[in-house]
């Protein structure tokens, strides 16, 4: 299995194994505590495809079958065969969040849950200086590449901005509906996103503001799939 040396890991880097782009790092620094975001935490509890689960920190990969891990919700990773035979009691509650782990008191748990929900309604909180205090980081995957990136949608203005940022990040041209770029007619990839209902949609059909309230994560898929 892969082992990352300690120096490869730096907490402020993005989860990608490639060198972090300056876009990501600076966004990370500006992110405030407003992002007690539940958007990304919902990911692990849905039966999402393999693209989601492989985001790792410092290149460490997990043992065991990733899909099994996801179905168990809170997976117990261990070489111990005896342990693997346990079914995590939360398996039946995989879509709920455990109320008994991690061991924090109820008041803190509910306070954080409320804060998390408030955050996923994308509201731009401006202080007197007009600085943006909120951010909306979503995961972005490119089909065929297990390691994803993260992108702050609140730092972007519209679809054009999104597409060009992504094209730059993944060094591939991307098409989207209503995009009037002739040179993208040949592009192999399109941008899709998962909405709040769990459906995968083509990006670009709804107005940008509406898109922002419904998007959970992005995926650059091959255009022959759509």
């Amino acid at each position: 299995m892969g082992r990352a040396s300690a120096k490869d890991y730096s907490p402020s880097s993005s989860s990608s194994s490639s060198s972090p782009s300056s876009v990501d790092c600076s966004k990370h620094k500006n992110r405030t505590g407003a992002s007690l975001s539940f958007a990304s935490s919902m990911c692990q509890f849905s039966g999402c495809n393999s693209g989601c689960s492989s985001s790792t920190r410092g290149g460490r990969t997990r043992r065991g079958d990733l899909n099994t891990d996801l179905r168990l919700g809170l997976s117990i990773v261990s070489p111990d065969a005896q342990r693997d035979n346990w079914i995590d009691p939360s398996a039946s509650k995989q879509r709920e969040q455990r109320q008994d782990w991690p061991p924090i008191k109820s008041l803190l748990r509910t306070t954080l849950a409320v804060a998390g929900k408030a955050d996923t309604s994308v509201s731009n909180v401006h202080n007197n200086n007009g600085d943006r205090n909120a951010s909306l980081f979503v995961k972005v995957y490119m089909e065929g590449i297990p390691i994803g990136r993260k992108l702050d949608l609140l730092a972007l203005h519209d679809y054009d901005d999104l597409i060009s940022t992504l094209a730059h990040m993944f060094t591939t041209p991307i098409a989207y509906p209503n995009g009037d770029r002739a040179d993208h007619a040949e592009s192999l990839h399109v941008l899709t996103y998962e909405d709040r209902e769990g459906d995968w949609m083509m990006a670009g059909d709804v107005p940008w503001e509406m898109f922002m309230t419904t998007v959970k994560r992005l995926k650059i898929t091959r255009s022959d799939r759509c």
């Binding site: 990352a4 890991y9 989860s15 505590g33 261990s78 009691p89 924090i104």
Partner: protein, 580 residues
């Protein structure tokens, strides 16, 4: 001092008897209940002198003893501390209506201790009727502290405010209560002046601000004030100018638009609080006004930000103003960089607690790592209490941390993903915790986590000679692990285990041990009903209580709570609790 009064005296060893009143005078100066327990074992005379002079009784497990027995032994109690449910009830592992009702105690106290002044309850069930009873029956009642209790509502608090004429302390913390209205605060009589401690930070209903302001103005001895998050900054300013003598303050939310003038006034109010040494609050993420706190931070020894998800830069700036900080509670939004600021600015730090801001999110580069902990251990050499929630850790880091701070008394590390190994070497965290117990000879409390084999428990059993409390979750390989603990830790008092592969063999290996402990909790382990029955049969002075976990179908899903008692089996057990 009359030597002829000594009994049992051989020529060489004389037990010198003090006259009772001298002995009682001396013993009345002893506060610690552990010292008093030791004193009571010296001789019958000392036992008697001690019991007559004890004013405060501490009962760590409300079912270990009955109120009648307590009252019979200690006739002059003025202050009671009572703890009820097992600690894992904080994490929803104990079903509701489990017990630990305070009312039976109050009924006896009304009879035996009518002059009772203080009641401090932790994890007890308290009803509104009990609160009304308390307010009515105890004319000298002064201090009520309810921590992690449940069963009451703000209506019960109304009774306390209305009827307790000499109330000095009302401390309501982190309880599961029915927050109906804030009217209780308005129930304090008009001319009320005695309050010294008022903590309603965890209540969410609005209180009448005028009533609060009047209360604060009139109570000149008010030292501790912790308001809830509905109190605005402007209101806080008005309170502070009326109570500059405060030593501990819990603010409301910091979310409000202030004019420049209001900001200045607030700043001045904080400057005026020259005795402030503890600060807390449920702060929102906007941190625009944090600088008003900076003047007050100079004298701070305790900063509790565990409900304030502030970004690391703001937290770093804040702690930079707290050179005398001894205790810091934060959310992990502080990140490693914020912890580095703590390390650089707070050399006197003794206690650090880092809670997870996003407890369910595992796949994300957030929170704190081993680097932050390491940094603090380098900069804060007096660190001896840590509670640390993180998503990754290494054995090497833990070993270095305890090398830097060998004085740990409380080491509670929670790697949030169950069974997670050292993320660099992929090995179990055995060696890390081994280093903790080998190096920290004063260790009294240990919370382990991550991937752990029996080796961890071998180390603990072998080295942790002062360990009193051990918390285990998702750890261990076989019965042997738990056996090592029970064989090895001579001072063990509380052992709580969940989701670990310890079965009947392990349970029964503690036969000789459990009566010297306060309690044992095991849930989602491999213990069976038969094993518990065997334990109960062989140890009649233990209560072996079993609760069946309704979610699990197999025969092994029991929650076991074992504790020593002189009160016999519970008489108030609900149907799902079986005393074997």
């Amino acid at each position: 001092m009359d030597p002829s009064k000594s009994r049992d005296s051989a020529e060489s060893t004389r037990v010198i008897q003090f006259p009772n009143d001298v002995l009682e005078r001396i013993l009345s100066l002893i506060d610690s209940h552990r010292d008093r327990s030791a004193v009571s074992l010296v001789s019958k005379a000392w036992y008697n002198a001690e019991r007559w002079t004890r004013r405060h009784v501490f009962i760590g497990n409300c079912y270990a003893v009955s109120p009648q027995i307590v009252a019979r032994r200690f006739p002059n109690i003025r202050s009671v501390t009572l703890k009820g449910k097992p600690r894992f009830s904080d994490f929803n592992l104990v079903p509701p209506n489990w017990g630990a009702e305070v009312h039976a105690w109050l009924a006896v106290f009304a009879d035996q201790y009518p002059l009772l002044e203080e009641l401090r309850l932790k994890r007890m069930t308290v009803t509104d009727e009990s609160l009304k009873f308390l307010a009515r029956k105890f004319q000298k009642f002064r201090a009520l502290s309810l921590l992690s209790c449940d069963g009451f509502s703000t209506n019960g608090l109304e009774a306390i405010a209305t009827d307790c004429r000499h109330l000095t302390e009302l401390d309501i913390q982190e309880n599961g209560i029915d927050d109906i209205s804030g009217n209780w605060l308005s129930c304090f009589p008009e001319n009320f002046t005695s309050l010294e401690v008022l903590n309603f930070a965890s209540l969410s209903s609005d209180v009448n601000f005028d009533a609060l302001e009047r209360l604060v103005s009139q109570c000149k001895s008010l030292k501790i004030l912790k308001v809830n998050k509905n109190i605005t900054l402007e209101q806080l300013q008005r309170l502070l100018v009326r109570a500059p003598q405060l030593t501990e303050l819990g603010t409301g939310s910091f979310l409000q638009e202030l004019t420049a003038h209001q900001y200045e006034e607030l700043e001045r109010a904080f400057i005026g609080c020259k005795n402030l040494h503890a600060l807390s609050g449920s702060w929102e993420a906007t941190t625009l006004y944090l600088p008003v706190l900076y003047p007050a931070c100079t004298n701070l020894t305790f900063l509790n930000l565990s409900y304030a998800a502030l970004p690391s830069e703001e937290l770093a700036k804040l702690v930079a103003h707290c050179p005398h900080l001894q205790r810091l509670w934060v959310l992990d939004t502080i990140e490693d960089v914020g912890l580095q600021a703590v390390a650089s600015n707070c050399p006197l730090l003794e206690e650090l607690r880092v809670f997870p801001a996003d407890p369910y999110d595992q796949d994300i580069n957030r929170g704190v790592t081993e680097s932050g902990f390491l940094a603090v251990s380098l900069g804060c050499r007096k660190l001896h209490y840590v509670l640390y929630f993180c998503r990754q850790m290494t054995n090497a880091a833990v070993a270095r941390i305890v090398q830097n701070c060998p004085g740990f008394t409380h080491f509670r590390l929670c790697i949030m993903k169950p069974g997670q190994p050292d993320y660099v070497t992929n090995e179990p965290m055995d060696e890390g915790f081994g280093a903790v117990v080998k190096t920290c000879t004063n260790l009294r409390r240990l919370g382990v986590s991550g991937l752990l084999t029996d080796l961890t428990f071998e180390y603990i059993g072998r080295y942790a000679k002062n360990l009193e409390t051990l918390s285990v979750a998702f750890a261990g390989g076989s019965d042997r692990g738990m056996q090592c603990i029970l064989d090895g830790c001579p001072k063990l008092r509380k052992l709580e285990i969940r989701d670990s592969p310890f079965g009947n063999g392990a349970l029964l290996s503690g036969l000789e041990k459990y009566e010297s402990m306060r309690s044992l909790w095991m849930s989602a382990c491999k213990v069976t009903l038969n094993g518990c029955k065997m334990l109960a049969r062989q140890r009649p002075r233990l209560n072996v209580e079993v609760m069946k976990d309704e979610d699990m179908d197999d025969g092994q899903s029991y929650k076991v709570y074992v504790y020593r008692t002189v009160a016999g089996p519970r008489t108030d057990a609900p149907s799902f609790v079986h005393t074997l």
